[in-house]
Amino acid sequence: MRAAIVPSRQQQPERLRQSGLAERVFRIRESGILVVLVVFVAVTTGVQHRFLDVSNIQFVLVDTASFALLALGETMVVISRNVDLSVGSVVGLSAYLSASLFASHPGLPIPVVFLAGLGIGLACGIANGIMVAAGRVPSLVVTLATLYIIRGIDILVVGGNEVDANQLPNAFLDIPKDTVGGIPDIAIAVAVIIAAGAYYLRTYRSGRDLYAIGSNPDAARLAGLPVGRRVFTAFAVSGAIAGVAGVLWSAQYGTINSTAGTGYELQVVSAVVVGGVAIFGGSGSVTGAAIGALLLTTISSALYVLGISSFWDQAIWGLLLLVAIALDQTLTERLTSALRKRRTRHE
């Protein structure tokens, strides 16, 4: 027999340090963008005090609300090593259909219209989910196709028409404007939904399964996880959320034609990635994605307030994306080598 290596291998204090390390790195991912956000706000405010006006903050929060909501659905999909590129088109379709519902049935209760939007989005999400989970087609291809198909349906339905604000009930148009103690209602509602989503992904088996699937899909199958069902659900939820976001869109903008939500999907994916969700799945959080959405919206608003061309808007978004991905890569490598070193045995 060789020397007994077993008992002396690892001592208690080291164990504590280890878990501390892993946790710290994960916190860094979210707090990192929070720091960027704070610095950005501070610098902008220094140059232009108007930036921290209540009305501007409200404006940013309202803009962030539906964006962050979409990021929630997208995060669930991305964590499972998939991507949903159809959300922009779903937003557009749901926005127009829900608005025209008001136009044709003026007395309709607002919740019914939200439910209708949710249903439209859910149907789109289910279609995506079936093709990805049952058809085993890569989600990039499936949702790229449905991006065009759903947009095509939208254009067919809308034609040259548009719904404008005076066809919509005032109560509906007021949704983005209503505030509680100065904070927009929908920002509160979305924050609650996101908190619930974060809690769900952290503490429920089906939520954790999404992380497992994204972390190692083959292992997930071998472990007997219902991979297809979970991925399907993620797409259905993402679709349903996009449907709701579409209704919010029509309340926010009032005027809806066939271009509503065009290109939105890439902004949502950007927010998710900037928010620290690994693009190849397995790690990241809804909270991070929501902060990502807030950061991107803040940047747009700051540039506007500072009177800088909106060209810079897109350039900075792109830059942030690169930084986020580079950071993600570096952090993962650092973490891996750090964890590996901790386990090196002295034999």
Binding site: Y204, R205, R208
Partner: protein, 539 residues
């Protein structure tokens, strides 16, 4: 070589208890390939049972049947005396069977505890959503820690799995099996990637499992490990059960003979009396850390040298390093006296090396391209004029080689994927022969090829050698190694351990060397060996 009859496992007299798991006459085919013809194994509580066999004997298929990954075409499986079918991995789990693979399949982003409990995390009793499964993290960590304590392994359940060594990953898998209350634990070559100390620690864990009444199926190519940890053994050969017995009373040679077992009289034809010339390839002290160490070998013009050894012994890796696909840390490669640049296939090709890789579909061919494009792929430089590839020259070259190698095809413009495996392999050969190499490396040249074409490929290699090409052949098929080559080098765990000439090599001797058995015959042969190369066996 009849060590035992072809009977299904008899009750070894030592264990009186009924088996926990009984697999009888399991068969499984994949298309035309019969991976498992008659797989039988009995596992008993508190017993470590070895499963032995050459590469391709059907062990992995048997394991995957027990894991619920493959469903057998026929045969019965009993767990605790009751018939069961395993439609999927979840069913195997439910039946109390846990499988630990050589490369564990963990979730790198999840914690160790979560890896153990994935899909069945403990949840809090008071749940406000009906059927809601809120995970009780603390309970999960507690249970994981308890399991590791039981195993005597202090692993932190709260750390994420990324960065764990293979040995620790296996411990996590074993912990998972324990926490599942698995009665049957299957370990598919768990020691292949472990250091000696890690193996010993794994053995401690296995002994613990055994004392706690688990039935363990242990697969390994290292016979000394089998003798160290197992009580009973089942040997498989060519997809069928050959022998089940208590290990006590058996010797390593008995086991090797049972594994090799086929009629040794027949050998593929060997082009006798080849005149070997100057060395075309000289490899000196080639080392890639953790993969292979201190490999020195010489291939002469007109000589076929086989590199034998088990899968994972580093054979293919040496070949890839010689051809410049993989980097190496130390040593030199020279072709026709000219030293090659490290890690550059371009320089290897320019020096006159051709490389027929192991995986024809992924590495040897571009499956969607036509037969003629594939043949021409390595010779495009000769076929172009003013930067454009002349289709006529490409066609002429392809049809010439197709005729010389008797490739069967419809049209030269058909995608190469339409050809049979044997003809595809000939296309790969044609691709390299078109460059008139002075050294050809062939990795598993006849894998997945029917018998007739196999013989053609063998003859072709002999012919090539006859025309002065040096050939370095890697093969897992012992008859091929023995039949085709002039000289056989055996690798084991990244080092060259033995060398045999064609005249004295035998399947048992090569197999023993590959498995690290000190076989008196091979020892003798080694000392006997011609001294024309400096690549002596270092053990």
């Amino acid at each position: 070589m009849e060590v035992a009859g072809n009977e299904p496992p008899a009750q070894p007299e030592a264990a009186g208890a009924a088996p926990v798991l009984e697999l009888r006459h399991a068969a499984k085919s994949f298309g035309a390939v019969r991976a498992l013809i008659d797989g039988s194994v009995d596992l008993r509580a508190g017993e470590v049972h070895a499963l032995l066999g050459e590469n391709g004997a059907g062990k992995s298929t048997l394991v995957k049947i027990l894991a619920g990954v493959h469903q057998p075409d026929s045969g019965t499986l009993k767990v605790n005396g009751a018939d069961v079918t395993l439609p999927g991995p979840a069913a195997a789990k439910a039946a109390g069977i846990a499988v630990i693979y050589q490369e564990p399949t963990l979730f790198p982003d999840l914690t160790v505890a979560e890896n153990m409990f994935v899909g069945r995390q403990p949840h809090r009793s008071a749940s406000w959503i009906k059927g809601g499964r809120r995970i009780d993290r603390r309970a999960m960590l507690r249970e994981a820690a308890a399991v590791f304590k039981r195993l005597g392994v202090p692993l932190d359940p709260a750390r994420i799995a990324r960065g764990l060594s293979i040995a620790d990953q296996q411990v996590v898998e074993i912990g998972k099996a324990l926490s599942l209350d698995a009665r049957v634990i299957v370990m598919d070559e768990p020691t292949a990637a472990l250091s000696a100390a890690e193996v010993e620690r794994l053995f401690e864990v296995i002994r613990t499992l055994k004392s706690q009444g688990a039935a363990v199926l242990f697969i390994s190519h290292r016979l000394e490990e089998v003798f160290a940890i197992c009580q009973t053994v089942t040997v498989m050969r060519d997809g069928s059960h050959v022998l089940t017995s208590d290990l006590a009373g058996l010797t390593a040679n008995d086991l090797v003979r049972a594994m090799v077992g086929r009629e040794l009289a027949e050998r593929p034809p060997h082009a006798a009396a080849v005149t070997t010339g100057e060395p075309v390839l000289i490899v000196e002290r080639l080392t890639r850390e953790g993969v292979f160490t201190d490999i020195s070998l010489t291939v002469r013009s007109g000589e076929i040298v086989a590199l034998a050894g088990l899968v994972g012994s580093g054979r293919s890796e040496v070949a890839r390093a010689v051809f410049g696909i993989d980097r190496y840390d130390a040593g030199q490669v020279a072709v026709n006296g000219k030293q090659l640049k490290k890690a550059s296939p371009t320089s290897a090709m320019a020096a006159g090396i051709g490389f027929v890789p192991e995986d024809r579909r992924q590495q040897g061919l571009v499956m969607d391209m036509s037969v003629q494009q594939n043949v021409a792929l390595a010779s495009l430089h000769d076929l172009e004029k003013g930067g454009l590839i002349r289709a006529s020259a490409e066609r002429a070259m392809a049809s010439d080689w197709a005729a010389r190698l008797k490739i069967k095809y419809g049209r030269l413009t058909d995608p190469v994927s339409m050809l049979s495996g044997g003809n595809q392999q000939k296309v790969v050969l044609a691709k390299w022969l078109g460059r008139k190499p002075s050294l050809l490396i062939v990795d598993e040249p006849t894998r997945g090829i029917d018998v007739g074409t196999k013989a053609e490929v063998h003859n072709l290699l002999a012919e090539l050698a006859g025309s002065g090409v040096g050939i370095l052949m890697i093969s897992s098929e012992l008859p091929e190694v023995l039949g085709v080559s002039d000289r056989i080098l055996v690798m084991r765990e990244g080092t060259l351990v033995a060398e045999f000439s064609h005249a004295v090599a035998s399947e048992e001797a090569v197999m023993s060397a590959a498995m690290g058995q000190h076989d008196p015959v091979s020892e003798a042969v080694k000392h006997d060996e011609r001294n024309d190369t400096q690549n002596g066996a270092s053990r």
